[in-house]
Amino acid sequence: MGKVLVLILAALAIDIAYAADRAPAQEDPQLDQRVMALAGTLRCLVCQNETIADSPADLAKDLRKQIREKMQQGLSDRQIINYMVARYGDFVLYRPPLKATTILLWFGPLLFVAAGLGALFYRLMRRRKDAVLEVSEADRARAAALLKSDSPEIR
């Protein structure tokens, strides 16, 4: 009887151990969402054109696990991001940070538009000063007559 009990307990223990090894924790969908949301803002360093959320690479899986553990430990999103950047550098950020070296990156487009519109405005204002050809009444009449006729030179 004792032996049977031990066997059952052993079987249970093995089963539990096996299950823990096999099953990714699916019991917390909200945590999952938070993990994937954060992982979606980080770049996978192996498949460098995907996020850690989407990448099938082993490293991405490990990092998703890491993110999950850190979240369960109570770290905030910002803290986890700093954790990643401390280890992998700014490259891991999908959205480039705003630093001294990236000011031109973030404000460049605005500069382009401003410069373009400015140049356009300047040009327009300058053109106004150029003489505008005024069409006299007599010329208008002549033009109307030409247009009405079937003369082949005019479309």
């Binding site: 490293l59 890491q66 280890r87 992998y88 550098g89 700014d90």
Partner: protein, 169 residues
Amino acid sequence: MLAVFIALVALLADGLTLDPHVVPSPLINKPAPHFELPQLRDANKIFSERDMVGKVWLLNVWASWCVSCREEHPVLLEFAKSDVVPVYGLDYKDTREDGVALLERFGDPYRISAFDSEGKVGIDYGVYGVPETYVIDKRGVIRYKQIGPITPDILKHKIIPLVTRLNNG
């Protein structure tokens, strides 16, 4: 406008010499992250970076499943024999049997190999593609990281001069 174009061309020309895939480590000139791992060959013994304070040393991240590691393995063996600097290993995301089997088959350049089965220490060190090698100085600060296999060229031009400088300084 022509000036902008010329600057662009210069940039692109320079870009040809760079590798866009290489991610430089933010850990350069920072203390090596702390770890305590069982040794590969003896699970009862622990290896930590603290054991190496006072010495200049190399930490080489490798794995039995890593194909490029085989490329650098003979180079490492030669280098370890020359005793310029002690070489230690970090067996990353491997099984003990496979790791030991590889060392038995191809030779063991490592004084000790630490066994990082889950890769947690690898993450702390910013490992993203084995093989990677770190040069760590006497105070335990990372001075250089080599991404990709070590070649005799890299040894000659980067690692050995650096190690010499660190040993004398």
